[in-house]
Amino acid sequence: MEYSETFLEALATLTINKLRTGLAALGIVIGIGSVIALISLGQASQQSIQSQIQSLGANLLTVIPGSQRNGTVRGAASEGTSLTRADADAIASSSQITTVKTVSPEFNSRSQVTAGRNNANTQIIGVKSSYASVHNISLASGSFITDRDDTAMTKVAVIGPTVVTNLFGEGVDPIGQTIRIAGQTLRVIGVTAAKGGSGFQNQDDIIFVPLSTAQKQLFGENNVSSIAVEAKSAEVMTDAQNQVGYLLLARHKLTDPEKADFSIFSQQDILNTVNQTTGTFTTLLAGVAAISLLVGGIGIMNIMLVTVTERTREIGLRKALGAKKHIIITQFLIESIILTFVGGLIGIVVGIIVSYVISLFASLPFVISPMAIILAFVVSAGIGILFGWYPARKAASLQPIEALRYE
């Protein structure tokens, strides 16, 4: 008996009871479909978070202060005051530092802002002109803070689109208008382009002022909250991290890197952490989907066992007419493999459609990994063999006389 014939025969048997065949395959359709949909959902959110982090600036190192170690007691990170504007200037001008392109010292705080009768609590960042290039800031209108604004301590501000809406109302051109922060009046000179509001913080609900204005006039501080350092390329990130680290250690008169009163982390560090987290998330989703796949497989086994019982007489007859064990096993295995294979194919299509719909509604990128599809394919064929094997063996080892007598 050739395989093509066995295949056609199995196909004919499966089409006899279409409802049952459909229901058995449905378990696999749902299983495979959810594996593909959930894996692509996980990968899409991973990609989306990655691109958001990358949009914060490429090849970026961030230096944040950390309070100095006192014996074994260490103060909370980022509350320290160890970094100053002079540190940033040194990084920018030192001859030891060869791998850095741009340095942006930043002072970060929150404050109440008023404009006319409106007020809002928002993030205020004191910056130099370098901030725009380091953080990929583009303007919708007006101009950004210049270094002259910083030197002259001018009272100007560049505001985000959310701030415009909150303080001036939707669609109003705020340029030339004034806002009040901490008792000072600042003139709005630019509006940033919308960056999108999800992620760690709303990048559109933000006000940029000259660094010196923020330090001296608004908040009365001398330190900076962080220094963003853009390396010349992705390849020299490690060099840049080392050069900046040793320069700052020297400037802070520290010899032991363990006692550093600052930390440097790169975009890559954040990306790695996020990838790890979303990776765990994806694995979790895939695990849930795998359970439904398992349930689908057991459904197939159940149907195949019913089929074996139902066709006991037929099996007995086939054996009486000379069918050997392997012929009966092949017959039933092919049936269950067809069942799972067709179910798997439909499941892949359903999974792709579902991930597409999710990507539309959740405004995520539409990602289908070929790995997920190959995996689903292999798993569905595997399930066909695994869960078809037991019923097939059961059918093949029936005693022909008992099978023939079976009513």
């Binding site: 008996m1 050739e2 014939e5 006899i16 007489r313 037929e314 007859l317 086939r318 054996k319 009486a320 007419l321 000379g322 069918a323 050997k324 064990k325 012929i327 005693q399 022909p400 006389i401 023939l404």
Partner: protein
């Protein structure tokens, strides 16, 4: 052709041993037409199953065509059933929802006969039993007598050494039963060996030899020369 010696089959039900066949010996020569008769529970079905290589004896030997079939593996038994034995069952046992020609071709597919040869041969045998017009009918479109004739064609198609018939007319109206009997008659005249189980004396009378069996033992083995006239 068939040599059965000291054949026993013992069933265990809990601690109770029941001998369905108890030290049975006989021989059947080529081209014999034998009826095995006995009341229900006499062991005639067990004997039939062992002769048909569907079951193995507890002890004793069954030699078919010079080969001891008594203790072969499952697959070897399947091969014997396929090549040497043609079954005709009381309940016809055709594959449901399958055409007559495919039913007849089925044993050949297990023997690895190419598809075209199978269909051609199946057609020839169906024509021989008078069903040349009904090749594509499925079993539920055929009468009981027609189904049994399909089953006979299926039993013959591998040209087996013996034809085993288990109450072949048990489910069939008497007019059609005569038709079946005349086919067996003809096959016997053509040289086939036929072994038939029945409990109806008038059906058994078609055979040339009748073996009576009771409580697992042969109680009478006679040749009948008185043959019924076939119309």
């Amino acid at each position: 052709m068939i040599q059965v010696s000291h054949l026993s089959k013992i069933y265990h039900t809990g601690d109770v041993e029941t001998a369905a066949l108890d030290d049975v010996s006989f021989a059947i020569k080529k081209n014999e037409y034998v009826a095995i008769m006995g009341p229900s529970g006499s062991g005639k079905s067990t004997l039939m199953h062992i002769l048909g290589a569907l079951d193995t004896p507890t002890s004793g030997d069954y030699i078919l065509d010079g080969e001891n079939v008594g203790h072969l593996s499952d697959d070897a038994l399947a091969d014997i059933r396929n090549r040497k034995i043609g079954f005709v069952f009381q309940a016809y046992n055709l594959l449901p929802r399958t055409t007559a020609i495919k039913n007849v071709a089925l044993p050949m597919s297990y023997a690895g006969v190419p598809k075209e040869d199978r269909l051609k041969k199946a057609k020839d045998y169906l024509e021989m039993v008078g069903l040349g017009e009904r090749l594509q009918h499925t079993s539920n479109q055929l009468s009981g007598g027609q189904q049994q004739r399909v089953a006979i064609a299926r039993a013959l198609v591998m040209n087996p050494a013996i034809i085993l018939a288990d109450e072949p007319t048990g489910n069939i109206a008497s007019a059609q039963a005569e038709e079946i009997m005349s086919i067996f008659q003809k096959l016997n005249e053509e040289g086939h060996t036929i072994i038939m189980i029945t409990h109806e004396p008038d059906i058994a009378e078609h055979a040339k030899r009748i073996i009576y069996i009771k409580d697992g033992k042969i109680i009478k083995d006679s040749s009948t020369h008185k043959r019924r006239k076939i119309k």
